[in-house]
Symmetry: C2
Subunit: 229 residues, 2 copies
């Protein structure tokens, strides 16, 4: 197999044209942005930035997946979110000039573009449409995070797991849902432990509400039962 050069133009163009943040722009505007972006490959399991690092700019993922997580004082990690191709991160320090407040680590081999802080700020000034897209993204991310916080605070672990499956089912529009992460990461995302995830999934299966097809696929048999936990 042939090694791709780091500054392959095709990569840049993909990066920019794939991402909702930019793909609504005119051809020549995109071309301008392409020149700002620098695509870089990362192997699996690589840390892209640490908590406390100064931000380089906006990171735009166009291949692979990245997990964003925080660490508590006693070393436990919580998954904040999983980035899929088209997602971006590093936004905090774009505005506040604050260091990153979380870790970013690749789950698979990844390719992502970086747009420098100043250049991104200029883009936002020049193209209000980009700002609006970003506001849209922020507001939906905010809504999701608030819901997650509310659930972790108010619902039992059992309910959280059940609701998570339901959410996945709605997102993927299927009754056979694909779990986007390991049980360990899932546990940390839902504010519980791998053991509890394991136990509850088994319990759901024994009740006939779900079927565990494989390690990362679950078939939902009784959606209502999950909902009224």
């Amino acid at each position: 197999m042939s090694q791709q050069p780091h500054n392959n133009t095709t990569d840049h163009r993909m990066c920019v044209s794939l991402v909702p943040l930019f793909n609504h722009l005119e051809k020549d505007q995109m071309k301008h942005i392409v020149e700002l972006a620098r695509s870089t490959p990362y192997p699996r399991g690589q840390i892209i930035y640490n908590e406390g690092d100064r931000s380089e700019g906006l990171y735009i993922l166009h291949k692979g997946r990245i997990k964003i997580y925080r660490l508590s004082e006693n070393g436990k990690e919580q998954i904040v979110r999983i980035l899929e191709p088209g997602d971006f991160t590093g936004e905090l320090s774009l505005f506040d000039a604050k260091p990153h407040d979380a870790y970013a680590e690749t789950l698979e081999p990844v390719e992502l573009c970086v747009i420098q802080r100043d250049q991104m700020q200029q883009l936002l000034q020049e193209h209000p449409a980009i700002s609006l897209k970003m506001l849209e993204e922020f507001s939906s991310r905010l809504a999701r995070t608030e819901q997650r916080a509310a659930r972790i605070g108010m619902e039992s672990a059992e309910t959280r797991i059940a609701l998570y499956l339901v959410d996945l089912s709605e997102e993927q529009r299927q009754l056979i849902v694909e779990l986007p992460m390991s049980r360990k990461d899932l546990a940390s995302h839902l504010g519980t432990t791998p053991e509890t995830i394991s136990r509850k999934l088994s319990a759901f299966e024994e009740s006939g509400w779900i079927r565990q097809c494989s390690m990362k696929a679950v078939e939902i048999l009784d959606l209502d039962a999950l909902l009224l936990l």
Copy 2:
């Protein structure tokens, strides 16, 4: 005392010039926005919007305080955040055209301005600076919410309460901190119960780490002890 008319111009101007979202603009730009805003008074304990309501636009608070909360299936409420003068809400539906995902209720007599959805969108298009301010606000709100979710999921109730006091102390830059809400609301914000708040505060006091001055004021005596819980 005299009743203020609803469309008092002074109110509008205050609204616009007070708020970080707008107060960086030129005089005549502000004047234009003032004309869009409609100030309305609300008594204490009034619901401003319900979950599921269609958004009227952007609500900008310029007097009093408002609590934003969600309800779980079983009727428990969780405080998402408390709005202080200068804060705004209703942003979700500005972009997604989705209904509100939380409730807004006044904690005190309140005055707030509303800017209609379309007019706000136009403002954002015309004044990129407003978008940037809003992005700034969103990104810091997002960071706070993610931290809250992480804490609720990973730290014990005791630690959450301790860290909350420390946070308040930093925000207010004082060792005598003023609790911005009732114990009931505090509990729901921290993902616990009023009973636990009561018990833990008493325990902290007995350990000599804090002193409960009044129902809504606490003096921090040993910040380090609270931090290493």
